[in-house]
């Protein structure tokens, strides 16, 4: 490591002495490049510190294991020969039987739907990982929160949804929304979206999510609108529907801007434009939106 690196690393680990802190300040003042690097590293540090991944932890499973180990400990405590020293011990047999019951119960349990606790989130996309003789633990990306299947409670009761965007797939869905007079049309579309997402039908899920994004925006529910456009982006990526991905990014940006989050809007529009530039798709409308934001 260079001296600059050592100063930077020490600062991030909060291990610099006062003299070293002064040296760091002097280096920042003397070198704009170092000051820039310092600033970026601080930002990265902040991002890392708040990026603990979310993982859906099966609470009942953890409780089952806890109870199994506790039972093993107690059984071991009761037997004179130590913990599971041999199956000749009656207690060990009983403990073994109890563990079999716990294990069988676990197998049954894990075949049933179960509640989960979210402790942490790892954004990423569905990926395939191969492991052969690893020396280090490979990290596999988990599903981002935005990919979580939408619960039916997302469907707020509404009676009309007539503000639609002109788009082939959207039009079909919007017609459904309009024509359904009895049941909650929006709830039906959300249900359809859930089905498509569950069935891994990325194309239909893209179209439905896009429609829902548009519909929720027309109803003023910008939060849900943004959520569904984000889902549309995700499904479009999986389905490799580049144009739809760009449009969903653009529409999500428009919603974000309406919510007052212009930083996010710019980020999304830049993504849309960059995607369009790399694939030769016309993104002039999004370029204009970006200019308007500025």
């Amino acid at each position: 490591m260079t001296n600059d690196d050592a100063l930077l690393a020490g600062f991030l680990d909060r291990s610099l002495s006062e003299d070293q802190l002064l040296e760091l300040e002097a280096r920042k003042a003397a070198s704009p490049e170092f000051a820039h690097q310092f600033s970026n590293m601080l930002t990265l540090e902040t991002m890392l510190a708040s990026a603990t991944p979310k993982v859906a932890v099966p609470a009942h499973f953890l409780a089952t294991v806890e109870n199994a180990v506790a039972a093993k400990m107690l059984v071991g405590g009761a037997s004179a020969g130590g913990l599971f020293s041999g199956l000749s011990s009656m207690w060990a047999w009983l403990g073994g039987a109890a563990l079999v019951v716990v294990t069988a119960g676990s197998i049954y349990y894990f075949n049933q739907p179960q509640p989960v606790i979210v402790v942490t989130a790892l954004p990423g996309v569905s990926k395939t990982a191969t492991a052969a003789e690893p020396q280090s633990i490979p990290s596999l990306p988990l599903t981002p929160t935005a990919e979580a299947t939408v619960n039916t409670r997302d469907a707020a009761p509404t009676k009309s949804a007539d503000d639609s965007k002109s788009n082939d797939g959207n039009q079909v869905r919007q017609d459904n929304l309009k024509s359904d007079g009895g049941l909650d049309a929006l709830a039906i579309t959300v249900g359809e979206y859930n089905s498509y997402a569950d069935e891994n039908d990325q194309v239909k899920a893209t179209i439905t999510a896009f429609t829902l994004g548009t519909t929720y925006r027309s109803k003023g529910d910008l939060g849900r609108s943004e959520d569904y456009f984000a889902k549309a982006v995700m499904h479009a990526r999986k389905a490799k529907l580049v144009k739809e991905e760009i449009n969903a990014l653009g529409e999500q940006a428009v919603t974000a801007a309406s919510r007052g989050n212009e930083t996010l809007a710019r980020l999304l529009l830049n993504q849309a434009i960059s995607r369009g530039s790399s694939t030769g798709i016309d993104v002039s409308v999004w370029t204009q939106k970006l200019k308007d934001l500025r």
């Binding site: 930002t43 510190a49 932890v57 979210v118 280090s136 599903t143």
Partner: protein, 183 residues
């Protein structure tokens, strides 16, 4: 002293020497979600993570006599890491990561902006060489001190620090457009 105020090592001594159930349960609940998350991150599926988590839990208890001093967390993560490596060696097939990893009714608590930043961040972590990624994740996601990371990976503390710093420098390069925008 109440169990909740005891250190990990004090609790584990009670488990090891007295088979103190309350001490065991207190200690277990301090680490269960972190160790499970570690296994899930390493193995990529709940099924494998559950198998390995169960193995780790049993091994920690079975091998309790072999723990004498040092950090309990470091010792336990060493067991978790070895168990994950063993599971990976035994697994000859690929694992699909899918939507099951998130609860279907999980509400989004952070904004799309956060989401995109986190996605970019995790993509950058994913691109790191394995030895750098592992040490970075242990530092930031498992919240382990350098000493415990070094112990778990059988490397020196200074090497652990260097790897974390280099990992961050690599990420800084990857993420520089975003970092510049966020400044």
């Amino acid at each position: 002293m109440t169990h909740t105020l005891m250190t990990d090592e004090e609790l584990f001594a009670l488990v090891r020497d007295n088979r103190d159930e309350q001490a065991f349960r207190t200690l277990f609940r301090r680490y269960d979600k972190r160790v499970y998350a570690y296994c899930l991150r390493a193995l990529g599926s709940h099924e494998d993570a559950q198998d390995t988590f169960q193995t780790v839990s049993m091994t920690v208890f079975d091998k309790r006599q072999s723990f004498s001093d040092g950090s309990f967390a470091a010792w336990m993560f060493t067991i978790a890491r070895n168990s994950c490596l063993k599971a990976l060696r035994n697994r000859r097939h690929t694992t699909e990561i899918n939507e099951e990893l998130m609860p279907p009714d999980e509400e989004d608590s952070y904004t799309r902006h956060d989401f995109l930043l986190r996605k970019a961040l995790h993509d950058a972590i994913e691109k790191l060489p394995a030895e750098f990624r592992e040490v970075l994740e242990m530092k930031y996601f498992d919240d382990l001190p350098y000493e415990d990371i070094a112990h778990a990976l059988s490397i020196t503390v200074s090497l652990a620090k260097v790897r974390v710093f280099r990992a961050k420098k690599m990420m800084q390069l990857t993420l520089s457009p975003i970092l510049d925008e966020l400044r």
